[in-house]
């Protein structure tokens, strides 16, 4: 019951008393991120060093946000799905599919076969169709979200491979690289994309009743229906939105590596996205959610990955380190654990 205040509500809280600040649900994910960055600061020389290279910012921090961009997008989409008590495990497959569609249409020459805009639109269209498919299976047929999206998780990647005959499609059309590798005002363009998506959805939460409706459907679907909500359409919408985010992430990933790798693009991205959402303080039981939290969660994950690389951790130890950190971050978020800890200290 100590859930995040609704987006709209938090605005009108009285002046931020320190106690209120300390109880803020985003405090703990932020603290976890700060601790990770602190470790980096101490252990990795030059970690915070930023320089200007070719007119844009260059450094570890830039890498982290740039790499985290697709994950942030996927996590934003996943947040809404999870808020309705659903789950979407087809995110990785949609990533592969959209990247592939775009790369196939653009083709392997410096000149695009299909105009770039059309190719991207087609890729997003494919992603939206995937979302619609998931949404209809969940909302209209009442399949359980995990099986409904499992179908696409298995088949989606297959479709992508079918398009490419299992080959990696390398793209040579320069403008395509802007999405994942370009820079605006010295910052990675991908960050701008995430910011825009975030702004749009945050604005929707504030200016429309979407947030309220999604939470209501997630917490008590029966009561929500009796109160007159279009529960089915809402559910379809969140899956479509999630797929759109995944589609955009797919374009970003394939633009960044200048190729579409149907078999590996976005592999296990759904797990990372769900992890990011939960690290950000949103409960998988649905209801209250925090978009900012999910973004922070994604940053935590990417910072951790980057730290592991930069510290020179041997690859066979990667997983153990990752798991220990996830455990610690979780525990740091647990009020019960803090209780135990403070009791132990006072004793």
């Amino acid at each position: 019951m100590t859930a995040a205040p609704a987006q709209a509500a938090s605005k009108d809280k009285p002046a931020p008393a320190p106690a209120w600040l300390l109880r803020h649900p985003l405090l703990r994910p932020l603290a976890a991120l700060a601790v990770l960055l602190l470790i980096d600061l101490l252990a990795i020389p030059g970690f915070f060093h930023l320089s200007i290279k070719d007119g844009h910012l260059y450094g570890s921090l830039v890498d982290i946000v740039n790499r985290a961009a697709p994950l942030m997008l996927a996590a934003l989409g996943m947040t809404l799905v999870i808020a309705t008590r659903g789950i979407d495990i087809s995110v990785g497959a949609v990533v592969a599919l959209s990247g592939t569609v775009a790369a196939m249409l653009i083709g392997g020459a410096a000149q695009a076969q299909t105009p770039l805009g059309w190719a991207m639109a087609a890729a997003m269209g494919a992603a939206l169709l995937c979302g619609l498919w998931n949404g209809v299976l969940v909302a209209s047929l009442g399949l359980q979200p995990i099986v409904a999206t499992l179908i696409l998780m298995v088949a989606g990647r297959g479709l992508a491979q079918l398009l490419t005959d299992g080959q990696i499609v390398t793209v040579y059309h320069e403008p395509f690289f802007f999405l994942g590798g370009g820079h605006v005002a010295g910052l990675p363009f991908s960050l701008t994309v995430v910011a825009v998506v975030f702004a749009v959805i945050a604005l929707m939460m504030r200016k429309t009743a979407l947030g309220l409706f999604i939470q209501a459907v997630g917490i008590n679907p029966v009561a929500a229906r009796l109160a007159g909500l279009k529960t089915a359409s809402l559910i379809v919408f969140v899956y479509v939105f999630c797929a759109a985010c995944a589609g955009l992430a797919g374009l970003m990933i394939s633009s960044n590596i200048k190729s579409a790798d149907a078999n590996n693009a976005g592999l296990l991205l759904e797990l990372d996205a769900i992890l990011a959402v939960t690290l950000g303080g949103t409960s998988l039981a649905g209801g209250k959610f925090s978009l900012v939290g999910s973004v922070i969660g994604a940053l935590i994950i990417q910072t951790l990955t980057y730290t592991i690389y930069a510290l020179g951790v041997p690859p066979e130890v990667n997983m153990v380190v990752k798991s220990v950190v996830v455990f610690l971050v979780c525990l740091s978020q647990s009020a019960q654990f803090k209780h135990l800890f403070s009791r132990a200290r006072s004793a």
Partner: protein
Amino acid sequence: MKSPYFTPLVTLALLLAMLGIGGAVYPGLLSVQVILNLLIDNAFLLVLAIGMSFVILSGGIDLSVGSVLALATMVSAWLLQVAHWPPLAAIGLVLLLGALFGGGMGAMIHYFKLQPFIVTLAGMFLARGLCYLISINSITIDDPLYLAMSQTQLGLLGGFVSPSALIALGMLALAVFLAHFTAFGRGVYAIGGNEQSALMMGLPVARTKVLVYAFSGFCAALAGVLFSFYMLSGYGLHAQGTELDAIAAVVIGGTLLSGGYGYVAGALSGVLVLGTIQTLIAFDGTLSSWWTRIVIGALLFIFCVVQRLMAIGAARRAA
């Protein structure tokens, strides 16, 4: 969703239909041995799904089972081949460790009010990571008991089954007993139905929840032992992504992921459905890698949708 009693029957009927159609299209599919192979090849998955059933019925989820399985193969291989333990002692220790691993996660989930998904996901990384700490190579097992378990063929209905398949079926019987005839099992259902109410009714929620994850860990370790009978090796890359198969099997078997509704026995039908889909594809033998995926997806889709429609229809008729 109101008729959980019905779903397993639908699943079974659909399964038979699927095998029937498959048999008509692919000669040789309907042989006794092919059917028994479903059991032999999926014994470990069945055991995983049994443990997973309890977790899901209690309203949780356990993503670590695939990795714990791999860890169990790795630890048993190491104990046998490097530390030269007697096989039964090694098996005993592995099962114990599995239960402890699961129980530890359960305790974190319950006492620190953490989300099962995230804790078991971290558990999944941890177990796989521990495999690599033991060795990144696969370790071949040549212990005579393991060899015997691996190669013994017990005649049945003109075909044969492996001891592992029987162990898995035994486990299923035990699990059905646990779920329906013990206070523990009913407690699991109650917690899945409404944890708050279960607490108010005075159920030992803490103990039950920790035990559920311990049981799942135990099942994962047992599945690991069966897997090492099957593969005669310990390897950190074994059974990647199997947790998803186990979850899918449980859900296809008619258990609701939100907890409280379903049957443990449904796990068997779920596992057989997944196994049958694979067998059909192997018998077809013309599908490329991507078509394999698409066809698996399509079969899953048809299966789930028909299952759902029939359940809706049945609920209508009952009303």
